[in-house]
Amino acid sequence: MKAYLQTFTRYRHLLMDLVARDLKVKYRRSALGFLWSILNPILMALVIAVVFSQMFKFKQPYYASYYLTGALIFNFMSEATSNSLTSVISGASLIKKVYLPKYIFPLQKTVFAFVNMLFSLVAVIVMMLIDGVPFHWTMLLFPIPMIYVFVFTVGLSLLLATLNVFFRDVGHLYSVFITAWMYLTPLIYPESLLTDTRLGSFTLMSIVQFNPMYYYVTYFRRVVMDGVIPGLEVNLICAACSLFFLVLGVWAFKRKQDKFILYV
């Protein structure tokens, strides 16, 4: 364990440099640069808000802010995992020539997405000011759901990166999967729809309750928009999901990482 921590501290400079490089690449040759990370979500939220609150008549107060808070959390997870998926394969040239801890690659992509989420957080604040969402002191608890979802995403990223080395189908399948996942998370529709929509004798909620992202997204909304601190039960669910996926991802990755070099 101590040796692992030592390796990690030794390579954290590399991790930070790789993330910084990703950021530079992302904003190269755009006049507004980093501002796009803030502007883009706002514009996107406005489009979604016009379509769904005007055309589809969703009854949701502060719709644009509602959408943006959910999308912030979900898009982080979606971006991080989709990029991590191919990260080990794209790192092949390094893996084959020098020794370095292989988890650097999925971790790089996850941290990069996390930094992007922090930029977009500014967009959320701007949007909430525009919408006139009242201030609650619970807003200051916003890092808690972010930490939950970060831990969850690290685990899932490690798992997907491992799977994709051996079966390249995972990459193709995942983009479909993430779309379905997005619709099973209350991002664009109001949370009330979950209990109102009936599928035979079940409500939509009976499926969605198995979706970890549902808990992270609603946790974030509760503290940021509703001024409510989620109870112990929700916290336990969030923590358990995050830790379960972290352990699963680390276990799978560690077990298979020595074989990566033979398949990339």
Binding site: L14, D17, V98, Y99, F166, F167, R168, D169, I261, Y263
Partner: protein, 242 residues
């Protein structure tokens, strides 16, 4: 002298699957048809060797005898199928020309990146930057993308980065044969300097003269087996008279 590298009974096998299975569909079809056959290829067979600290150790052998695989096992890139390899101290591997170089980046960025990949800090690399460029004689090309470099220039840069911070173990695979003779001399001088500093050097070379000039001990690999292991003179003479 304590050991710097211990290699114990290492066997390295590769699956040479006749057709690469990398989709789930193929995997299941092949599994059902019981066609998941792998032909095993043994690159190293029960190799054991202890290398003392400060030794300059050469490896000779024909193409495909497992020299590069051995170096990759020692540097931790490959995990052996059986047995284990242990190293004590920091390793600088020069397994391939410009390992870990990104061809789209400039020399300056690559020096930094390569240093970080080897586990050094950014600050350290910035301090050493001028020294590296001077040794590699690339002062005029600092901000040129590496893809525009000749292979000799890339090799020089790679060697300069790997040796600038006196590693405990330096692993050199065949790369000294690239630069011109002046640079080769410079590299050999640097290796001798490192030797004086107790760095353990592991060299693979097809140039038997180079091995004779630099090494104290030599291992002769033949089809993954250790054919001979001992002091330079005995092994080199036997190898030449093969």
């Amino acid at each position: 002298m304590p050991n710097a590298i211990e290699v114990n009974n290492v066997t390295m096998k590769f699956n040479m699957s006749k057709d690469k299975v990398d989709s789930i569909k193929e995997y299941f079809i092949k599994m059902c048809k019981r066609q998941l056959r792998f032909e095993e290829f043994t690159a190293l067979q029960n190799v054991s060797v202890n290398i003392e600290k400060g030794d300059v150790f050469g490896i000779v052998g024909l193409n495909g005898s497992g020299k590069s695989t051995f170096l990759k096992v020692v540097s931790g890139i490959l995990k052996p199928t059986e047995g284990w390899a242990k190293t004590y101290g920091t390793i600088s591997p020069l397994i391939e020309l410009g390992a870990g170089f990104d061809m789209d980046l400039t020399a300056r960025e690559n020096v930094l990146l390569n240093g970080l990949v080897l586990g050094y800090t950014k600050k350290h690399m910035k301090e050493k930057f001028d020294e590296i460029i001077e040794f590699a004689e690339l002062q005029d090309f600092v901000d040129v993308a590496l893809k525009n470099f000749s292979s000799g220039m890339v090799a020089r840069l790679g060697f300069a980065v790997a040796t600038i911070t006196k590693p405990d173990i330096l692993i050199v695979d065949e790369i000294l044969s690239v630069g011109d003779f002046l640079f080769q001399q410079k590299c050999e001088e640097r290796i001798k300097e490192l030797m004086a500093n107790d760095t353990t050097v592991l060299i693979v070379s097809h140039s038997i003269e180079q091995i004779e000039r630099l090494c104290k001990h030599v291992m002769w690999l033949d089809h993954g087996n250790v054919k001979m292991l001992g002091d330079m003179k005995t092994v080199c003479d036997a190898y030449k008279s093969m």
